[in-house]
């Protein structure tokens, strides 16, 4: 059948199972928008193309399906860069469709021309420039396949205006992907399995490091079985939270720069690390020179390029995490490590007294209280919390006890402020039955708050909790600890967030006392439209513990003892 490139685009997306796209029109993508009326796909009009990419990302992370963002050439395409880089570092499968100037104008610096395949080359898993309609179908099929297979990631397809306008024969079946060099399906050899099993069997102080790869590969049952069968404790990365229920007795909690102290001590004392679907990011290792000095290391990951990148390992099992764990499971043997677990319990007991949750209610509102109360109210399996980047993100990771997979969406690798609000829109579109909460700082919120209009326009029930401390809080914390409290450019003059929300027609309220948190959360849950709550929290609270950049993992800055601190106050 003869079709235009524009029609082929939407038909291919439909055949790939796409129901929603997030986009913003413009000159070079207009032929595609013109053809949208014949498609079943729902188009969400965003307010900025960065928002479109974060929405596609949130959509992908909430559902496991490929998220799609659409933009025009030039500025439309370059506005996507931050969202693409975010998806790249967190292995999120998105396909970005951009319009491009006509193929004859390429290279002429035409109006709104940018070499977007050149710009995004290092931040995409792969990208394409399509200049002919008859290349579109195969390219789009390849793009979706590459985005979701192996280690997922963003793929950009740049389509010239004339490729959208011209017509050609469309044959989906014939347009099969041709990727002779692409090999997403690696698996370890029997010998490698045997060596890894031997290391596990001989270990007395093992710890599992559970990362995002478990969620990506859907290995939640397998990781649980591994822990249950062996009794090996499990430490979580930020993006791994939810892979094993927080309430599971072997789940230690989060590791790393703002991980629990006992988790970091456990890693430093261990004789074996079993790293699963994680990549030894500098935020989880601290100084590499002193990282887990007594531990052998097994690394299970789908990406061969991650092996020995940051941490030298003794054994690598390269393959899909779920497949690898399934293969290992029948043969796995571990020594009794109850002494080791007792040791960890002792570490834990020391840390718990410093927990801010144990502070009595003095009327002051701490972000940790807000998040813990939010968790108490919403801890069922339908809640998805989408966090931004900074202090509130770390407090959320510490005090919201994620018992369910895919219940936390956050920008880990790139640390993209402004991610939360649009990503939450994507998550809500992907899972309309889920209760979606945005937890965002006053700084990050203002980076992408234009998407409030998208929420209202799409009539999405998204709840927004702004943790307002009047600062770029995490930067302020670094200034407090490492730059002698020189708060350069971190205090924020903020708008009235309640009035702002109301201007968009969003029910909005402010809370400044601890007693007000739960009623506000309950009101938000009962209201059948979007709700914005501004929580005015302690301005100079810091996230503890903290491993300073470059310090050893066990050298943490700890929360000052609350009893001593209060004595000083009085």
């Amino acid at each position: 059948m003869i079709k235009t490139g524009a029609a082929i685009l939407w038909e291919c997306l439909e055949r790939e199972g796409v129901q929603h796209v997030f986009g913003y029109p413009g000159g070079a993508i207009l032929p595609a928008y013109d053809a949208l009326k014949h498609s079943t796909i729902h188009h969400v009009l965003v307010r900025h193309e960065q928002g479109a990419t974060h929405m596609a990302d949130g959509y992908a992370r909430a559902s496991g399906r490929v998220g799609v963002a659409v933009a025009t050439s030039g500025p439309g395409a370059t506005n996507m860069v931050t969202g693409i880089a975010t998806a790249m570092l967190d292995s999120s499968p998105i396909v970005c469709i951009t319009g491009q100037v006509g193929s004859k104008l390429i290279g002429s610096d035409a109006f709104q021309e940018t070499d977007i395949t050149g710009v995004t080359l290092p931040i995409t898993k792969h990208n394409y420039l399509v200049t002919r309609a008859d290349e579109l179908a195969r390219t789009l099929r390849e793009a979706f396949y590459v985005a979701r297979s192996g280690r997922p990631g963003p793929v950009l397809v740049d389509i010239t205006k004339d490729a959208q306008q011209s017509s050609c024969e469309f044959d989906w079946e014939a347009a099969r992907p041709q990727l002779p060099g692409y090999r997403p399906d690696l698996s370890p050899t029997a010998k490698e399995y045997a060596q890894a099993l031997e290391l596990i069997k001989n270990s007395k102080r093992p710890v599992i490091l559970a990362g995002h790869g478990i969620l990506v590969s859907g290995a939640m049952r397998e990781i649980r079985e591994l822990a249950d069968r062996t009794g090996i404790p499990v430490a979580m990365t930020l993006l791994g939270l939810g892979a094993l229920p927080a309430s599971h007795p072997l789940n230690l909690g989060m590791m790393g720069m703002h991980g629990e102290a006992w988790v970091n001590h456990t890693i430093q004392d261990a004789d074996l690390l079993i790293a699963i679907g994680m990549r030894f990011d500098d935020r989880v290792t601290g100084s590499l020179k002193t990282y887990a000095p007594t531990a052998r290391k097994i690394h299970i990951d789908i990406d061969p390029a991650e092996i020995n990148k940051n941490v030298k390992v003794d054994m690598a099992l390269i393959g899909d995490v779920r497949e690898v764990l399934r293969e290992m499971m029948p043969q796995i043997e571990a020594a009794d490590c109850s002494d080791w677990r007792d040791h960890i319990d002792r570490l834990k007991g020391d840390s718990a007294v410093r927990d801010i949750q144990n502070l009595p209610d003095t009327g002051h509102l701490y972000a940790a209280h807000v998040i813990n109360d939010l968790w108490r109210e919403t801890r069922d399996d339908h809640t998805v919390v989408v966090t931004d980047v900074g202090q509130h993100q770390m407090w959320e990771a510490q005090y919201y006890k994620h018992d369910h997979p895919y219940s936390l969406i956050t920008s880990g690798g790139l640390g993209t402020m402004g991610f939360a609000l649009p990503a939450a829109i994507g998550a809500k579109v992907a899972r309309p039955e889920a209760e979606v909460w945005v937890v965002v700082g006053d700084g990050g919120f203002q980076m992408t708050m234009a998407e409030l209009a998208t929420i209202v326009q799409e009539n999405l029930k998204v709840n927004i909790a702004i943790i307002n401390n009047g600062y770029l809080g995490m930067v302020r914390q670094w200034q407090e600890f490492f730059y002698e409290r020189n708060y350069a450019a971190t205090p924020l003059l903020n708008p009235d967030f309640v009035k702002l929300g109301e201007a968009y027609g969003i029910r909005s309220m402010a809370v400044s006392e601890r007693a007000g948190v739960i009623p506000a959360v309950q009101t938000a849950r009962r209201h059948d439209g979007p709700v914005l709550i501004e929580f005015k929290v302690e301005q100079e609270d810091s996230v503890y513990p903290m491993v300073a950049a470059g310090a050893a993992l066990h050298e943490m800055i700890r929360r000052p003892n609350p009893l001593e601190e209060r004595a000083e106050d009085e």
Binding site: V146, L179, G181, T189, A305, N308
Partner: protein, 183 residues
């Protein structure tokens, strides 16, 4: 140490940029990179030499494989290979110097490909150190201009199974045990 990679890639626009960009992004320093056609029109072949330790070399290989257009990577550093570099050297050669230069070219089995009243242009093909050797002895006469192609390398003996599969454009490469996918 200097590592030599033979890399088969799809012959498509932009693939050279992808490979070059990878080395830049991961901060690996390319010493030389050559690219050209192969016996298959849809496949190009690169020879890349890069200064890297064993561990870095493994990561370079793994990262090259992550490029969708890369078909096969062979680190031939420790293999029996034939390596060739081609240089054209324009050297000042007037009066009595001319006969000296001609003599030196003869010793190195290099060919004179252009003659002018002031200079001789010498073409030499060989391993890198041979060319370096000629350059060394010509330098006192005055090297006016020089161009080198960079190394091209080929394994000795018969074509490997993996290589045949890659250049046949089939997707069976991953199944071949001779390709190291792991550490």
């Amino acid at each position: 140490m200097m590592n030599t990679f033979v890399v088969y890639v799809e012959n498509k626009p932009g693939v050279l940029t992808r490979v070059a960009s990878l080395f830049r992004r991961r901060a690996f320093n390319i010493d030389s990179l050559t690219v050209g056609r192969t016996e298959k029109p849809e496949v190009s072949r690169m020879t890349i030499t890069v200064d890297a330790d064993q561990d870095q070399a493994r990561r370079i290989e793994a990262n090259l494989y992550k490029l969708v257009n890369v078909l096969l990577v062979e680190n031939v550093t420790s293999e029996a290979t034939i390596e060739r570099d081609l240089a054209m050297i324009k050297v000042a050669a007037q009066h009595e110097a001319r006969s000296h230069v001609l003599e030196l070219a003869g010793v190195f089995r290099a060919r004179v490909v252009d003659v002018s009243p002031e200079s001789l242009t010498i073409e030499i093909t060989g391993a890198e150190d041979k060319i370096d050797g000629l350059l060394e002895v010509l330098r006192p006469y005055g090297v006016l201009e020089m161009v080198r192609t960079g190394i091209v390398a080929m394994r000795r003996g018969k074509k490997s199974g993996a290589l045949a599969a890659a250049t046949n454009g089939t997707a069976t490469i991953a199944a071949d045990d001779s390709v190291s996918q792991s550490v």
